[in-house]
Symmetry: C2
């Protein structure tokens, strides 16, 4: 069976990803969105997205921890600090060029991009910037500023912006790089008797690793949220979602997930001490998990969506270390691609993760996603006589789930999402720039 | 150009690895070596190697740090402890089954393997084991002990053992798994007016990562060396060689590098305070680097041999962290495979390594291995206008060298060897067990 997979032109094309593209949505009030082809990317491809809030919004962001922070990351951080998270009116993101490791000139470009947005939209204030910018694409090349400036001008005119489902989808398309489908989620929720909406966009298919690799995303809501509460909610949500996914273990210089809350739907201001704070935190977190999972579903060249459940670790950090180690192991990932129940590779990656493990109490099982009985591979450190036919049956599915119980008695656990490593990953990344 | 590579049946077959197999050698006195087909592997393949010393030898070993230590690792460690590193007479290594994560039964198997060697060779002592055992291959399967026992018996009879070059090559072949060529090095050296020899064998092509992944190897010399001096020399040599290579970032449960010194060539006993200690340490270290580099040359599916030179780090550990991070980045490795000068990926992996870096003082260059002028990619944090034709010219070579200067002022550096990530890696590892 592997031979068949290997010699097929592309296993990936066999998987229909269009089911991940929503056909409709519930979108927050007071936002207009859209995208344009600015010319940064070759061809007539959408490569710049804009989101404008009708009202000054509370804003928060989580940025990459890479030591080489891209220019837009540095600029956005400064903007949020200067504004103390208030008064943000727009987000502009371009694909095709990451404006990363571009020296002093690149930082000037990022600030020029911000001021162009502010001026074009008429939201410039004397002493503070009012917009956030994001860039994704090739590292080490300067932004073609003429194209960036004219792209912003085209979007700011307004006729490409709107609040329909199609506008949101277009906005999600404008930030795609090697993504094969736009990543957009939305939902309604109630809080304190008022109905709100949340929308989220993301891009990212390679360079995806805990701590958010080439990942750009933003959440927006029409709920009124105090800036520091929004930051706390976003940080929590990201730690349980975008920091719990890995495609290839590479963490980019540009990762940014930001959030805006413009209060357009009215209701009470959510602060950290408001009784509804935990409702909102929970809504945003579950929502972020959905969006993060879409990124894994579109993992470069991936053919499998794998959920890892690490159990009974000493600490949550240890559980995450193990998940991270397994999900970054090329041997594990290629075995999943080959639908090979070579579970020794799971154990091996568990053992070098640097986490506390009790080998004599460790359990590993495949959990079929169709609800049938789980298949135990290792029970209390003893390998089981595995029914290979049953293992193959489970591994043939697109969605896989693996439980690893570390047996430490600590009781901490984590959920983590990853994908396999295929021929197409090598193909996509061996020739990305051409 | 990439397209041509991609559609060729296997770029790897284009590279002649036979040049890495020595045609002759200088071997230490007092050892007999050989290999047999025991039947652990399918077909009539060599899968068990034996080395016997005519005299009780000092012994040392470096083992995996994986939490799931394979049974032979546990058993060998106990043997060396009980003997305080003296009186070892033989090493037996099998391929095809790693005897790892095999529970209590697997540990009994490892001890049974040791006692079988001791009894068959007539070197059994009442209270101590006199041999070391190693296993490599699939994890989680029990050793077929009948085949192991009869294989040992065949080797112990002696007619398959000898001390010629061909015997040493055969011994190196017996421990191969996905290796495409046997890894054997030998040399003469002088110390205190006496001529000695060193021979080294290793296997390992996948699961190779710092801290020695599925790597089995042993060095033997006819110099007389005190056990604790031998351990110190081996640990130093391994830290600069086998712990400075990475094929895929996976660290196995079985890694073992051991060393024997039987003193058959006479001369003064080398202790830690002997004036010739540093001569021997240096000889073994340079020798270990040679052997470790052979492992990278045979990296699963690899088409490039890459030397990373990390400079001006705060500490040696930081330099190694950066080298490790770059060499384990699938994005870096696929770019090298695609001969794509996408140096942003080098920077990116440097930035998330967790080491001290001064972005504004960081320099990255390609160093052509033909002695022509280096190509600067990043100078003091500023990207250079890279001549792509020149970059392609450099990247077309099989041997690549990259210099990364972290600009911290700390002055620490490290050398590290790795390879690219190709279609063949995915092919080999997606279907290893079949």
């Amino acid at each position: 069976m592997f031979a068949k997979r290997f010699f097929s032109t592309s296993p990936r094309t066999l998987i229909d990803k269009s089911r991940f593209i929503p056909k409709t949505g519930f979108y927050p009030r007071g936002y207009k969105v859209g995208a344009v082809s600015s010319g940064v990317k070759k061809g007539n491809t959408l490569d710049m997205s804009m989101l404008v809030s009708d009202y000054p919004a509370s804003a928060a962001a989580c940025f990459t921890t890479n030591k080489f922070k891209a220019a837009p990351v540095v600029a956005d951080k400064a903007t949020l600090d200067a504004n103390q998270g208030s008064g943000i009116r727009a987000i502009v993101a371009n694909s095709g060029c990451a404006n990363s490791v571009t020296g002093e000139g690149g930082l000037e470009d990022a600030y020029k991009m911000i001021s162009t947005v502010d001026e074009s939209l008429g939201i410039a204030s004397k002493d503070k910037n009012s917009s956030l910018v994001m860039s994704t694409g090739v590292i080490g090349q300067r932004l073609p500023m003429d194209k960036i400036v004219s792209g912003i001008a085209k979007l700011a005119k307004g006729d490409l912006l709107g609040s329909d489902h199609e506008h949101w989808l277009t906005c999600a398309r404008g930030i795609m790089t090697t993504d094969t489908f736009p990543k957009l989620v939305s939902k309604k929720f109630s809080m304190g008797g008022t109905e709100y909406a949340l929308a989220g966009l993301a891009k990212g298919a390679g360079m995806i690793c805990p701590n958010m690799a080439t990942l750009l995303g933003f959440f927006v809501t029409d709920a009124p949220v105090e800036p520091s509460a929004l930051q706390k909610i976003l940080s929590h949500a990201v730690s349980k979602s975008f920091n719990c996914i890995s495609v290839d273990g590479d963490m980019s210089t540009n990762d940014t997930i930001s959030a805006l809350a413009n209060g357009a739907a009215g209701g009470e201001l959510i602060t950290k001490s408001h009784p509804d704070y935990s409702i909102l935190e929970n809504e945003v977190t579950e929502f972020a998990k959905q969006l993060a999972q879409l990124v894994v579903h579109d993992g470069e060249g991936s053919t499998k969506f794998i959920t890892l459940r690490i159990k009974d670790a000493t600490t949550y950090e240890d559980a995450k270390k193990v998940a991270n180690s397994i999900s970054n192991s090329p041997l594990f990932k290629t075995a999943m691609y080959g639908e090979d129940a070579n579970w020794g590779r799971i154990l091996c990656a568990t053992g070098y993760a640097g986490a506390e493990v009790n080998p004599a109490k460790t359990n590993v099982s495949f959990i079929p996603t169709d609800g049938t009985a789980q298949l135990d591979l290792l029970v209390n450190g003893e390998p089981q006589n595995v029914d290979e036919a049953r293992a193959s049956e489970i591994l043939r599915r697109e969605n896989l789930e693996i439980s690893i119980d570390l047996g430490t008695g600590g009781g901490e656990s984590c959920e983590f999402w990853t994908c396999d490593l295929s021929h197409d990953y090598v193909k996509i990344n061996g020739d990305y720039r051409s």
